[in-house]
């Protein structure tokens, strides 16, 4: 059973529908007991880091997540879920969960590509250049693109955890992995077939 963590942050239903489509068995929950029982954890999210942490902390969901991670359960972070897995976010100057060392930064104000000014948020389809192979990206063409919408990006402290990089004025870490965790900045649930493939791969992944 896959647990999708419900913390009042947006796109839970989109993730649920994508899992239905690939035949994944899931439960939407904020109950620590159910998280403990789950085989896999998905930590989604859209919205702001400050509000998300203000909701998670009193519910002790930050602690529950740390416990799941320590227990070796395969975990997938999505978008805001990925950003607050790091130690700190520049968004609302928020202390986050800290499963992975590093911070979440805001895109610089004047982003350009050649002579073209780039828009913020980074909204639309972009590719992910993988630094190495990973079971969660198995069977996905290197040219495949994923749907992004964000103004902040994860900046892990250690290069070793960077799994994939995306170019938008700067090169930023769009996928990271650390032990039994994979976390992506894009939305696999809204990224067509490559996104569904990634979710399928995650559901089959043992976290090693």
């Amino acid at each position: 059973m896959i647990a999708i963590i419900d913390y009042n942050a947006g796109n839970i239903t989109s993730v649920a529908r994508a899992l239905e489509n690939i035949g994944g068995n899931f439960v939407i929950t904020d109950d620590e007991k159910k998280l403990k029982e789950a085989s896999h954890i998905i930590f989604p999210g859209v919205g702001a880091a400050g509000e998300a942490m203000a909701y998670l902390r009193p519910q002790k969901l930050d602690v529950a997540l740390k416990n799941c991670f320590a227990a070796g359960k395969p975990m997938l972070g999505i978008c805001l879920g990925t950003q607050i897995i790091l130690e700190h976010s520049e968004e609302n100057n928020t202390d986050c969960i800290g499963l992975v060392k590093g911070v979440t930064r805001r895109f610089p104000d004047k982003l350009t590509c050649g002579d073209r000014a780039l828009k913020i948020p980074h909204m639309g389809w972009n590719s992910v250049v993988l630094r190495r192979k990973h079971p969660v990206f198995e069977g996905i063409a290197p040219e495949a693109e994923f749907y992004f919408v964000h103004s902040y990006y994860p900046a892990p402290a250690e290069e070793a955890v960077v799994l994939g990089v995306t170019e938008y004025g700067i090169n930023f870490c769009s996928a990271l992995t650390f032990k039994n965790l994979v976390a992506v900045q894009f939305h696999p649930e809204k990224s067509g077939r490559p996104g569904l493939q990634l979710l399928k791969n995650f559901c089959a992944w043992r976290g090693k």
């Binding site: 489509n21 859209v46 000014a117 828009k119 948020p121 909204m123 639309g124 040219e143 170019e167 067509g192």
Partner: protein, 259 residues
Amino acid sequence: MISKRIIPCLDVRAGKLTKGIKFKGNVDIGDPVEAARQYYEQGADEIVFYDITASSDKRDIMIEVVRRVAETIFIPFSVGGGIRNLEDMRKVIGAGAEKISVNSAAVENPQIITQGAKAFGSQCVVLGMDVKKVEQSKKTPSSYEIVVEGGRVYTGLDALWWAKEAQNLGAGEICLNSIDADGTQDGYELNLTRLISESVKIPVIASGGAGKPEHLAEVLTAGKADAALIASMVHYKTYTIAGIKHFLAERGIKVRNIW
């Protein structure tokens, strides 16, 4: 680098497409969910639905359409038309749409943009702008004016001012429709699109006037648009989304090629 988005637009009235959409074998499809599925499979990057249902008692039919679309396609889609308040937004987003677009409701009550952005995030709130070229005046220094009710009513708002204002109020994107170009199939309003796109930080979707792939190439380069809305040129099977993308890619415009 980010791809330019190609976005088919579907008009829906009381749960049915208002124009037949012809796909392979000349099948006329009246079901918006089926049309959305076909465009999803043909490589649309996003889909826009406009609910043009006149009577409010039939609006809930659209919510059911949204729910079915969300089960069927796995790309972002937005819903506009008839969204007047936070409760309307909540229903549409709750049913599975990524974005809602507000147009005349935002002209009447600009705070709806801020309320929507606060409740669901800026990325959820698209400002739809219907624009007409007018004489330059004190009221309309950009010589473009915001119109409502399909272009019949002039609001007195300068289009450039309104775009910036909406961005400040929290809109995450602008869908910019030229009423002058709309339906002509003679090409997008390039000057208007460039003016707005260069003046705001948020992405701009160009709308109105697309008749052939060259028009998309123009608006995505000279027009500085981040995305292009299309309707008739694909609804009537004159072009396919894949064909349009191939055309754009050959001209060095980055588009999503695998789906």
